[in-house]
């Protein structure tokens, strides 16, 4: 299918789009934290996927390869957009679901919004490495692959991001607690 899509077969391209859309969206969402502006970035990512398809050699899975492109798309988006200030009071969620797990999810969303606001203020490469490794829970080797970086550089970025976030969290107990939570309870 990838071969046919790379040769311009529109049906194969549509099929590929359907097959890859969830993983591409997942990667962009984890790095950026919400669906705002994601439609434009998804377009950019898929255009690049189709453009680069002839060069896909099958060294990694098509899914992983497309996630690498999504990561690169997110990086460029972060680099080109100005930091925005988000009013945390505006983005609060109401917990309306009676499902006990809904409270946990709502609390996670609440804390994650604070985390993504803090992430806006740190270096894009550190932010991406942290988002993929700590928020999404990917192994560092996979993060290194997705960010087209060495394992050492990836480890360093995650460590620096965590240090910077912990520093920023000194005035924000919710964020501090969430950072510990995401690290599996390790302070």
């Amino acid at each position: 299918m990838a071969q046919r899509a790379s040769e311009g077969d529109r049906s194969a391209q549509r099929e590929l789009f359907q097959r890859l859309k969830t993983c591409v969206h997942h990667t962009l969402f984890r790095i950026l934290g919400n669906n705002r502006d994601l439609e434009d970035l998804l377009q950019d990512a898929f255009l690049e996927i189709f453009r680069a398809l002839p060069s896909f050699r099958g060294d990694s899975s098509l899914t992983r390869w497309s996630q690498t492109i999504a990561t690169r798309t997110a990086y460029l988006a972060i680099e080109r957009r100005k930091p925005t200030s988000v009013d945390l009071e505006v983005v609060e969620d109401e917990i309306v679901d009676k499902d006990p797990d809904a409270h946990r999810v709502a609390a996670a969303r609440h804390a994650a919004k604070r985390l993504y606001v803090a992430l806006e203020k740190i270096d894009a490469k550190m932010r991406i490495a942290f988002a993929l490794a700590v928020i999404d829970g990917l192994p560092l080797a996979e993060v290194a692959e997705l960010t087209e970086s060495s394992l050492v550089a990836t480890k360093t970025r995650v460590w620096r991001a965590r240090r910077e976030l912990m520093s920023r969290a000194k005035k924000d107990p919710v964020l501090a607690s969430y950072l510990v939570d995401l690290s599996g309870g390790v302070e």
Partner: protein, 213 residues
Amino acid sequence: MTEHQRERLGPPPVDAMSDVAWARVERKVFSRMEATGGTVTAAVGAREIRGSAAARSHWVWLAVPAAAAAAFALAFFSMNGPSGSTQSEEPSRIVAGSAPSSVTFGDTHLTLDANTALVMDQAAAKPTALLEHGSALFTVPARGERQFTVLAGDTTVRTANGQFRVSRDGELAQVKVDTGTVRITFRGHDVTVAANHSWSALQPADVVDNGTN
């Protein structure tokens, strides 16, 4: 901190995008590919994440096609996008399984053949049905300037009054008009199909009289 926050929270869930949002993304991706003659102009570029001045200068080369694509998208959605309409219904996805299914949206009646799926977006000034696959009969009463739109892959069918059937199998769309008139656009082709005539994406420039079939 509440009891709930003391539990392990983990990452927040990934918020899914609506079918309509995905349809928009898909449509725009393939429109942009179509606009560049099938040769995709990269918006991202095959660069390493390290970035460089050369990478930034690449954007200059992308400015013209990107602006054209943006203008195209803007024009397209200014025709189909939300306006001052007071309708606020959420898009609905309708799936007909092994049996046909009928449904009414406002003044428009839809009959879905078996194994058909479509997404109906009434929030737009011009209500839009996205036919994912299968075949459906649309009955659109006279509605003045307010057109009803059916999207089937790269095929767009518009009418302000008529009964017509749209079938989609992958990229192949076919339209058969029973009453009224519909306008069809498909990859640069723009044809008007009157009552008792048909159109197929296989021969997008031709309109066939049903009586001659």
